[in-house]
């Protein structure tokens, strides 16, 4: 039986590759776990997302009520919905940790440039997942977050208005927007994520784990991926399930009030925490900077920074240039500090 399958599917070849995989051991090894953790939380999203699809109805008339039905009537609906929301947030957190650790440990050096690029694409896909998923319960906060978010897309020069209409399915945020976002969230983005995830993970297998230049040494100790590292991964995943269940039970995700296109934005309205640093920055910008709309300038600046992420491995190409290494460390530290400080400021201020 085994031979029959092996002849047709080359399972033993795959097994050989898996058995050969090793994880280097050094003082930064802890950071190797965050990619796998992000992947695990993504799987949680897929499973809980499919479950939510059994009851969710994507229209302005029904969406809010159907989520209400899920969390009040459906057995364990509150749990599944809360885990989906919490896991989404934890996934973005682990993704950011993964991004910054890969940045500071220089795991994007040759030949891993495309692994970094596919990772940045995945980052944007995940942000789109968050933004589109946020609207689906069709509550007040989501309605205004979507108004603002799509309006921001609208300020892009030349193509802005077309993009805005494409995203909203018209000139305003309506049921048409909800239907579109639903389509992105459950069809377009999952397809894109699957492709880039496959590329990303395959590239990691192809090149093996990156050893940071700062610990490059002869005779580095290594750990077998199977079973040693995988078992450690597994412990992390079981912990994550525990944390998710605890969060869902103790802090069930709020549903809020149903969206009303003719009600003012509620006081104290804020976006999701991972958009908070940008939101806070927009608040501080004056209406006009050098004759241009302040927010247009701010938004363009964030777009440029986001695009700069792609070219990081092509500018910082190796550890030989110590000055450049230092500059990139400073840039990374400043970016991290800015995000953390502005997020906290955004959280505590009214």
């Amino acid at each position: 039986m085994k031979d029959w399958l092996d002849e047709r599917l080359s399972i033993s070849a795959l097994g050989d590759i898996a058995r050969k995989k090793e994880v280097p051991l050094h003082r930064h090894s802890i950071w190797y776990y965050f990619g796998g953790m992000t992947l695990f939380l993504f799987v949680v999203q897929v499973v809980t997302g499919i479950l939510l699809l059994l009851y969710y109805r994507p229209s302005a008339e029904n969406a809010f009520e159907s989520v209400q039905f899920i969390v009040t009537e459906v057995k364990f609906g509150w749990l599944i919905r809360s885990i989906h929301s919490w896991s989404a947030n934890l996934m973005i957190a682990t993704l950011f940790i993964h991004l910054f650790s890969v940045f500071f440990l220089r795991a994007y050096y040759r030949p891993r440039e495309m692994t970094w690029v596919s990772g940045v694409v995945l980052l944007f896909i995940v942000i789109c997942f968050g933004f589109s998923g946020y609207l689906l319960p069709w509550n007040k906060l989501a309605f205004f977050a979507t108004k603002v978010g799509t309006e921001i897309a609208g300020v892009i020069p030349i193509v802005g208005h077309t993009v805005l209409r494409f995203l909203r399915g018209g000139d305003d945020v309506t049921g048409a927007t909800l239907t579109r976002f639903f389509g992105f969230h459950v069809a377009v983005l999952p397809a894109a994520a699957t492709v880039f995830l496959a590329v990303h993970v395959l590239l990691v297998q192809l090149h093996g784990m990156s050893v940071p230049p700062s610990v490059k040494a002869e005779n580095l100790r290594k750990m077998k991926f199977i079973p040693n590292f995988l078992l450690r991964d597994l412990i992390g995943w079981i912990l994550a399930i525990g944390v998710l269940a605890a969060l869902a039970a103790l802090f069930p995700w709020e549903l809020g009030e149903k969206a009303d296109p003719f009600a003012p934005a509620p006081a104290g309205i804020k976006p999701e925490w991972y958009f908070l640093f940008m939101f806070q920055t927009l608040k501080y910008l004056p209406a006009k900077i050098l004759g241009m709309d302040g927010e247009v300038l701010g938004i363009m600046a964030f777009n440029v920074v986001a695009l700069l992420l792609f070219i990081v491995p092509f500018v910082d190409r190796g550890p030989e240039n110590r000055r450049r290494t230092l500059i990139f460390n400073v840039i990374g530290a400043v970016a991290l500090l800015y995000i953390v400080v502005m997020t906290i400021v955004g959280y505590v201020t009214e």
């Binding site: 205004f144 003012p264 709309d293």
Partner: protein, 159 residues
């Protein structure tokens, strides 16, 4: 082109001499039909994705509220076609109406009684009761509407 001319003016035209230009012609045919086919597939998809324009309601005026619904120093959101408007009664009893769509990022504004401002909660934008942007990020004033009273009805119309 010059290659084709050379081929046709050559003395001994054999099949092997004709081959490249015929090949190129067929490639050209094939290439353009592939591009045309792709175009015929992509164009409808792009047009399909861009939403058709909704006919704007030609409403030029609307009954926004009854007089007793808007006491002094308060505001009320009303429907003006598909867009929200805001009706404000100032301390002196004067009625004002504006578009309720914040000029910053499209949120819906509200009347703030403490400051006597029209206020947007999304990014803390302030307008005075003439609709002028006076604080926070809004780049332009709110669009102002004309207000008339007809009996106890407040009628708002586009200026």
């Amino acid at each position: 082109m010059s290659k084709m001319l050379q081929d046709s003016t050559a003395q001994n035209i054999g099949p092997s001499d004709l081959e490249p230009s015929r090949r190129r012609f067929l490639d050209y045919l094939l290439g353009t039909s592939v591009v045309a086919t792709l175009g015929a597939i992509v164009y409808p998809i792009i047009r399909f994705m861009s939403p058709p324009p909704v006919i704007e309601s030609t409403e030029n005026s609307v009954v926004a509220a009854k007089l007793n619904e808007v006491p002094v120093n308060s505001g009320k959101i009303f429907k003006f076609g598909s867009k929200p408007g805001i009706l404000v009664r100032t301390e002196s009893g004067e009625l004002k109406a504006f578009s309720a769509v914040c000029t910053h990022l499209d949120c819906i504004v509200q009347f703030q009684a403490e400051t006597k401002h029209i206020w947007c909660a999304c990014h803390n934008g302030h307008y005075n009761l003439n609709g002028k942007n006076i604080g926070g990020p809004p780049p332009r004033p709110l669009e102002e509407f004309k207000v008339n009273t007809r009996g106890d009805e407040i009628v708002v119309s586009k200026a």
